[in-house]
């Protein structure tokens, strides 16, 4: 019999619940709120059968474009042939986690605003741009003894002693 290509084909492992985490899903998944424009990760929860996305979207990150009673609309990029399409899917909240991809950016934004406000109060000009990591500083090597290694001239007699 040939392999089927149904909607949930080849999802035996990716949709299964992890070891010793089966059964009831913790209620914090239902208590989270999502606003339009948030970034979310799509991660399928095999215990909930309704509102499951297609297996392609498992592990993708997208932005929220719609919020309904029990589900969230997520806009995900998908490469189709030679172009990338922005696909809009609706997913139940059990299959969605808040994404941390923008967390570092948001923290930096807050810190930069604070630094700029402080600099403005003092009247100095600062740059909040991130700089790439430069070359490491130089240092003196300590406790090193110098040993000069030179090759010895080839001694035919010594080498052939024993062999030959």
């Amino acid at each position: 019999m040939p392999a089927g290509h149904g909607v949930r084909s080849r999802t035996r492992d990716s949709f299964s619940r992890p070891f010793r985490k089966k059964g009831y899903i913790p209620l914090s998944t239902y208590l989270r709120t999502y606003k339009i424009g948030d970034y979310v990760d799509v991660k399928v929860n095999g215990a909930v059968h309704k509102g499951m996305p297609h297996k392609f979207y498992h592990g993708r990150t997208g932005r929220v474009w719609n919020v309904t009673k029990r589900a969230i609309g997520v806009e995900v990029n998908k490469q189709v042939g030679n172009r990338i399409i922005r696909k809009r899917i609706h997913v139940r909240v059990e299959h969605v986690q808040p994404s941390r991809c923008t967390e570092e950016f948001k923290l930096r934004k807050v810190k930069n605003d604070q630094l700029k406000a402080e600099a403005k109060a003092k009247g100095e000009v600062i740059s909040t741009k991130r700089q790439p990591e430069g070359p490491k500083p130089g240092f003196m090597v300590e406790g090193a003894t110098l040993e000069t290694v030179t090759p010895i001239p080839y001694d035919v007699v010594n080498d052939l002693k024993g062999g030959y």
Binding site: R20, G23, Y24, L27, S28, Y30, T33, V67, T68, K69
Partner: protein, 300 residues
Amino acid sequence: MPFVKAQKTNAYFKRFQVKFKRRREGKTDYRARNRLINQDKNKYNTPKYRLVARFTNKDIVAQIVHASISGDIVLAAAYAHELPRYGLEVGLTNYAAAYCVGLLLARRTLKQLEMDDEYQGNVEATGEDFTVEPGETRRPFRALLDVGLVKTTTGNRVFGVLKGALDGGIDIPHSEKRFAGFNKDSKQLDPEVHRKYIYGGHVAAYMRTLMEDEPEKYQSHFSEFIKRGFEPDNIEGMYKKVHAAIRANPEAKKSEKAPPKEHKRYNLKKLSYEERKAKLIDRLKALNSVAGADDSDEED
């Protein structure tokens, strides 16, 4: 000892998945909790309040709670052990006391939210089904009844709490099917019977039968009632006074207990990440200094 095959091997324990802690304790029904807490996503952060009614052997706990990820937040709470403040000292876990606790909780939350003038609720408890009508400025405070793990039979005391909260002015979706006095055959609530229960009429009836048939048992069973002068005839008047007192001043009183004093610590305090790292650095330094001393000894 005879050879017995070990039932619970190491493999059994390795694969065992524990249930949620509160399920193991047998305190929370997660299926019900899920349905009570789940808020529509397009209502974002609007809290969904539940009226939690729990009965212990000697006390009644009624709380208005809403859920959050870091734990449930209690808006207001009322206990049966507060009822002595309003003049009710005995029978603290019966249907009438449950009604009082529900009423106290409702008036307390409405006063806290400054809605108590607008939503008086049902001042005269008649036992009929009463639903709060929307007022002028604000919509009524809405909560959902959370019974916990009790069996919801007709006439259960949790519905006494529900009726008290309804008459207090809180909007709780309900049906009169489970109030005391609902007739299964005619499928109708008899408000007279319900009113009897709200005012402790069933307790008074039992008192009367005991007085006639077994006076000794009456003395022993209702000794506290007799001590405070509660006859079967004036029980209703007593509860009416309690209701009036509750409506007059439902505010919670802060207890004057001193904060518990600190106890001596018997087990080691867990160190923080910085403390542990500092300890490690000290240990390495000590090791290095000892090793340095050893090396110099060997060289010499």
